[in-house]
Each structure stands twice: as structure tokens, then as C-alpha cells.
């Protein structure tokens, strides 16, 4: 066969098709015109966003629910800089996405050309890796490597910057079958010696506790986790990112841990004598005051990223490996162990846990006249039978969603955990809905957050992506207001969003459906109506400004010292 000559833009799509990409989130511009001029010849679906940040969040949301790599294309300069927040979000939460940015022609690089920016320099510290393509003969390999790096090991965002002249020039294309990087070899299989040490600690422990995180979701290790927890009869708590990886109806389930964790989960952390962290990174929102974190516990830490281990908390048994393979190997080792007496040994501990759960469950005061946000989330849970994909913005809305929606399945809760990025939820919900067209996708928002990417209503309406946005509208930056009330002597500096658009009319102006609830008895019928609609729906729910997220651990306090309702 004769070698075929292809342009850079054509090579890009060749590799994208090989990688099985079927949707791209993007926004065209001068430096990616050649790429867009090839796009229409392919079968790839393109979702035209209204701001590049939303393209990245949507690709991220798509990746979180589908488990595939999310892809975006944006132009150079401002197009590229607008992606930075989205990339940093994906980086903090280890989400596999590949971002293609156009760049000015190579001859102009470094000349401060129109719409030139050193995006590789800018994103170096918030990507897993990034590339500037300087030779067309490297293009296919780089794109292939970008996907490989994004989805293997601890996943993360990869950026590829492609100068315009590279998109235009031609070269012989040879398909690359296998990626080999001599300097990048993620470890999936854990060290057997460490596993044996872990087993011996587990057998000796009287009060073990499992803490699951985003790693369990990413490595699809929920079946293994369930088996493991049941086998060793240890209670399970979760970080924000791990919600959905363990069934909430199990008697072993404690709920979320940390700053807004449940009483039972936080107390169990303070009391346990063995903490098994699976795919977690012991973030400060989880640990609270770090040197009082799990003070009585030896820690077994399972994570695919060695840098997560020994970074924030001292670890007795470090296990570098993929959560799924590690847990299944542990399960196998446990089969050979005599676990007969385990139920007896755990009895007191599980009794104690049960007491904590019963005496101080998550709670709020229901009201006759005002709508409580917790009630809204509970109603959503009831109406969707816990089967919806829930995206959130950041702040109180996020914490209420995490506390009151019970996640039975992984990949159903998409939220900006590490970066805490307001404006994330709505575009991420759009991406999630694109990945799962038959699912109900709900963005739980606040009146502050939704206005950070509200322009995406146009995207959702144009592409008929029937996301439901539920705004818990308290006219405040609620979480900041909560801190001001509790720790800044009620000085509500600049957190009152005194003026906001009429969200119902705004939705209608965009061609979406707008609904509003102002009284508790309106909540259920309004939400039913929203969920029944095949259109994009924005629901404005008025909640009291004073409502707070409880429990709350003040920043820098031990997590066992909670402010309760």
C-alpha cells in the first residue's frame, strides 16, 4: 500500500477516531479553523458551548459518568486561558480529559502575536502532562500519548497545543499501535509484602474503619470494596469524591467524613484503631486539624499515586496500587484467613457505631412556611428513586446534595471536590447528559454558582440536552455567609447577591422552561413537573438565607469537634 499523506488536522481526527472519541466539546476560533474544517467530515458530535471553561467542565462531566476520556478543542490565546479553571478542576479530581488548543503558527511563536499565549507554560502545574507540537511528524504520537497518559495510572488532564501551520501542513501518516513511554509506567499491582502486613493489621484491629475516596470510583472497585468491607466487617465512610462507591443502605455505611461529614463518620474516625484509606488523599477538608486526625489509628493507605502516600498523614502500611486490583488481592488473601471469630470481635465497635448513627443522624428543622434546602434534596431523591445523576455547584448546595441525596451507584455524583469550582455543575451536567442521554441529570445549584456559567443555557437548549437545574436560591453566597455568621461575627461583607435576574424569565428567554417554588407544599409538584419535562428546565427554589450546613467542623479543628444543628 502507498503511504498516505494527511494534513495535521486530518491526522488529529484519525487518532481521535482510533481512540473512539464520539463527542467533542469546543469553541472555534482563528487558530483552530483548520481543525474545525475537518470536523464536519467526521462522525464526531460537536457540542458548541458558550464559554471555553464550560467546554472543559462538560468534557470533565462526560468523563466522570462515562469513564471515557473527555475531549475539548479551543482556539489559542483567550480560548486557551479560559480552559485553565476547567483543567485545574479536572487535575485536582483526577479526571481524564484531553484539551486541544490552537496555537499561532510556529514562525510567530514567541513574538507576542495576536491571540498568542504560552498555554503550555501556564498549564504546566495543573495538567498531568502537556505538549507543544513542534514537528508534524510527532503529532500522531503526541495525541496518542495524551490519551494514554490521561486515562492510565492516576488519571488527569493532558493539554496538546497545536500551532496553526502544523494543522495545515501534510506528512505521511502511520498509525501508532502502541504507546511506550520509558519514563511513565504506572504501578497497578501492589506489593505482596505490604498486603500481608495490611492483613495482619486488619486481623489485629478491634475498631477498623474504611475510608473510600474518588480512587474507588475511578478504578471501578465498588464490588471489590463491598466484598472487602463485608468480609472484615468494618464500617465504611467516604470522602466527597467517593460517594456512590458503597451502598448507603448497608448497615456498615457511615456517610461522608470531614468538615460537613456525619457525626458517626467523624466520631468513628476519631475512635478507630485502624483506618484503611482506599483511593483517598487525606485532603484538609477530610482531616481537619491534621495532627489530631484519627489519633488512635494505624493507617493503611491504598493509592495508585505514591505522592499521595505520606503526604499529609503518617502511614503504617503504604500500598501503591490500583484500588480494584489491590482490593481483589486483599479479598483473595482474606479467603485463606480464619475469619470465624471476626463477628464477635467487631460486636462492640459496630454497636458503638450504631449508637452514633441513631443518636445524631443528619437532621434539619422542617418549616411550614419556608422551604428547607435539605427537604428539596430529599424530595429529589424520592422522585428520582435515587437513580439520577446529580451534579452540583460549590458551596452549601454541594454539601446538602452530598448529605441528603443517597448515592447508590458510582459515577452518579459529579462535583468539583478538590478545586471547589463554582460554575462547574451546570456545564458538567451537560457533559453527563451527553454521555447518558437516557438518564435524568440534575444540577443542584446556588444562585451564586449558577450565574458563573449560566450562558450554557444556550448550549443545552441548542443541542437539546435536557438537564434540570435546581437553584437553591437564598440570595447569598451561602457558604461564605455561613462562615461570616459563625466566625466573622455576622459581618456579611459582600456576600449578599441583592440583585439577581428573574431566573424563570431568564430560562424562558433562553428557550428553556422556568419554574419557581416559594412554599414547601409547592416543592414536590414543581419538581415533578420539572422532571417530567423533556426540555431544559431551570427551577428557582427560594430558601431562607439563614439556613446552614450542619454538622460543621470549624477550619483547623479536629473533626470530632462538630457544630451540630
Amino acid at each position: 500500500m502507498f503511504p498516505i499523506k494527511l494534513t495535521g488536522a486530518q491526522i488529529l481526527f484519525k487518532v481521535l477516531e482510533e481512540e473512539g472519541v464520539d463527542v467533542i466539546f469546543g469553541y472555534p476560533g482563528g487558530a483552530v479553523l483548520d481543525i474545525y474544517d475537518e470536523l464536519w467530515k467526521t462522525n464526531i458530535r460537536h457540542i458548541l458551548v458558550r464559554h471555553e471553561q464550560a467546554a472543559v467542565h462538560a468534557a470533565d462531566g462526560y468523563a466522570r459518568v462515562s469513564g471515557k476520556v473527555g475531549v475539548c478543542i479551543v482556539t489559542s490565546g483567550p480560548g486557551a486561558t479560559n480552559t485553565v479553571t476547567g483543567i485545574a478542576t479536572a487535575y485536582m479530581d483526577s479526571i481524564p480529559i484531553v484539551v486541544f488548543t490552537g496555537q499561532v503558527p510556529r514562525a510567530l511563536v514567541g513574538s507576542d502575536a495576536f491571540q498568542e499565549v504560552d498555554i503550555v507554560g501556564i498549564t504546566r502545574s495543573c495538567t498531568k502532562h502537556n505538549y507543544l507540537v513542534t514537528d508534524i511528524d510527532d503529532l500522531a504520537r503526541i495525541v496518542k500519548e495524551a490519551f494514554y497518559i490521561a486515562k492510565t495510572g492516576r488519571p488527569g488532564p493532558v493539554l496538546v497545543d497545536i500551532p496553526k501551520d502544523i494543522q495545515q501542513m501534510s506528512t505521511t501518516y502511520k498509525s501508532i499501535k502502541e504507546v511506550k513511554l520509558k519514563s511513565y509506567k504506572p504501578v497497578y499491582k501492589p506489593n505482596m509484602k505490604q498486603l500481608q502486613k495490611a492483613i495482619s493489621l486488619i486481623k489485629k484491629a478491634k475498631k477498623p474503619l474504611i475510608l473510600t475516596g474518588g480512587g474507588v470510583v475511578l478504578s471501578k472497585a465498588y464490588e471489590e470494596l463491598k466484598k472487602f468491607a463485608n468480609k472484615i466487617e468494618a464500617p465504611v465512610s467516604s470522602t466527597l469524591m467517593g460517594l456512590g462507591s458503597f451502598p448507603p443502605d448497608s448497615p456498615l455505611w457511615l456517610g461522608m467524613v470531614g468538615m460537613h461529614g456525619t457525626y458517626a463518620a467523624n466520631m468513628a474516625t476519631g475512635e478507630c484503631d485502624l483506618l484503611i484509606g482506599v483511593g483517598v488523599r487525606f485532603d484538609d477538608r477530610v482531616t481537619g486539624k491534621v495532627n489530631t486526625f484519627a489519633p488512635n489509628a494505624k493507617i493503611i493507605h491504598i493509592d495508585i499515586d505514591p505522592t499521595s502516600i505520606q503526604k499529609n498523614v503518617p502511614v503504617a502500611v503504604p500500598v501503591v496500587g490500583d484500588c480494584k486490583s489491590t482490593l481483589s488481592m486483599l479479598n483473595k488473601l482474606l479467603e485463606e484467613e480464619d475469619m470465624e471469630s471476626i463477628s464477635d470481635a467487631r460486636k462492640d465497635w459496630l454497636k458503638q457505631i450504631e449508637d452514633w448513627k441513631i443518636t445524631k443522624p443528619l437532621s434539619y428543622k422542617q418549616d411550614k412556611d419556608e422551604i428547607k434546602p435539605q427537604y428539596v434534596i430529599e424530595t429529589l431523591y424520592e422522585l428520582t428513586k435515587g437513580d439520577a445523576i446529580i451534579a452540583t455547584e460549590v458551596g452549601q448546595n454541594q454539601m446538602w446534595a452530598a448529605q441528603y441525596y443517597r448515592f447508590h451507584k458510582p459515577n452518579h455524583f459529579i462535583t468539583s471536590g478538590g478545586l471547589g469550582c463554582m460554575g462547574y455543575g451546570f456545564p458538567a451536567a451537560i457533559g453527563a447528559q451527553v454521555a447518558c442521554p437516557n438518564k435524568t441529570v440534575i444540577d443542584i445549584a446556588g444562585d451564586g454558582s449558577i450565574q458563573m456559567n449560566i450562558q450554557e443555557l444556550a448550549t443545552a437548549v441548542q443541542h437539546n440536552i435536557p438537564v434540570k437545574v435546581v437553584i437553591l436560591n437564598n440570595s447569598y453566597l451561602g457558604m461564605v455567609r455561613q462562615w461570616q455568621e459563625l466566625f466573622y461575627d455576622k459581618r456579611y461583607t459582600c456576600t449578599h447577591l441583592e440583585y439577581a435576574p428573574d431566573f424563570v424569565k431568564l430560562a424562558e428567554a433562553y428557550g428553556a422552561v422556568g419554574l419557581r417554588a416559594t412554599k414547601p407544599d409547592e416543592v414536590k409538584p414543581i419538581l415533578e413537573k420539572a422532571l417530567a419535562s423533556k426540555k431544559v428546565v431551570l427551577v428557582d427554589i427560594r430558601i431562607p438565607s439563614e439556613e446552614k450546613v450542619y454538622p460543621m467542623v470549624p477550619a483547623g479543628a479536629p473533626i470530632t469537634e462538630m457544630i451540630l444543628v
Binding site: S125, H129, T134, Y184, N291, P306, T307, P314
Partner: protein, 168 residues
């Protein structure tokens, strides 16, 4: 995490892909995470696609462990050699331009001789001397020359190699 206060100086030797941006990834990692770089030397190896970075840093045990892991995590870093508990040779190089007054010239040459260094450039007023050795040796050398008047110094940080084949 409890930070141990004993700060130790530490030398890492890295093999990295010889590509643009690698050095900035390494330097960026240190500045972003608040680690410090005492010195850094980069040059190519026998394989033109691979460079060796010799890097001196300071920190307690936990920080050094993090630094090592974080360096390993960089995609372009092929290998990180940690020279703790390993026998290694280490050399710095310094070029020293020292004032050569007629009455001092003999003394300078004597010191140069004692330290097995070399005069590499001579002008009417100055000698430029090249010296290699570990940091202490170079410091001692500079201390002796200082009274004569040191005009300028150019100094590398240490480069290091493990003795024999200890990492196989």
C-alpha cells in the same frame, strides 16, 4: 503531618528526557510546593536524548521523600537516583578571577598548586583559576584567595555519580 525540623542537605541525580520544558517542570515543581533548590546542574549524557540533572535540596525526611516521589511523577523524568546512604563522588567547579599584584603572584601560584587547581587565564592584573572539588575544598580555597582580592567567581553546584554500580 508532623514536620521534623532536622533539615538535611540532599543530592538527587535525575535522568530526564532531553526535551524543551523539562527543566521548567522541575523548577516549577519546587517553587509550587515550596521546596528549595540549592543548586542545579544539567547537561546531556552519552545518550543525546537523555540529560542528567544534579540537584541539591534541603528538607526533613518527609519532604525529601515527597520531593523524590514528585520528581518521579513527572512524565519526562526517567529515573531519580537518591544518593542518601550510597557511596558517591561529587564535584563542584569554580572559576575564580583573582587580583594578581606582583607581590602576591607567587603566593597565589603556591595556593593553586596545593589545591591541585590550575591557572587558565593570565592578564596583567588578574589570574583566572579553575578548581574542582567538593564544596568544602572550594570554600577553603576561596578563603585563602580572598585577602588577595577576588574580582569575580563563577561556580557550579555539585555534580555527582554513585560509585560503581550500586543501583543495579
Amino acid at each position: 503531618m508532623m514536620k521534623n525540623n532536622s533539615q538535611q542537605k540532599h543530592i538527587f541525580s535525575l535522568l530526564v528526557e532531553n526535551q524543551p520544558g523539562v527543566l521548567s517542570r522541575i523548577a516549577g515543581l519546587f517553587s509550587a510546593r515550596g521546596y528549595n533548590i540549592e543548586s542545579l546542574c544539567v547537561a546531556s549524557t552519552t545518550d543525546p536524548q537523555v540529560s542528567r540533572v544534579s540537584l541539591v535540596t534541603k528538607g526533613d525526611e518527609l519532604i525529601l521523600e515527597q520531593i523524590k516521589k514528585q520528581l518521579n511523577k513527572l512524565i519526562n523524568v526517567i529515573k531519580v537516583y537518591d544518593y542518601t546512604d550510597v557511596a558517591y563522588v561529587q564535584r563542584d567547579l569554580a572559576l575564580v578571577k583573582v587580583r594578581a599584584k606582583p607581590e602576591n603572584r607567587a603566593e597565589i601560584l603556591r595556593i593553586v598548586d596545593i589545591f591541585r587547581s590550575r591557572v587558565v587565564d593570565v592578564s596583567p592584573d588578574y589570574y583566572t583559576v579553575e578548581i574542582t572539588g567538593n564544596e568544602d575544598k572550594i570554600e577553603a580555597f576561596l578563603r585563602l584567595l580572598r585577602p588577595m582580592g577576588i574580582k569575580e567567581i563563577a561556580r557550579t553546584g555539585p555534580v555527582a555519580l554513585a560509585r560503581e554500580d550500586q543501583f543495579k
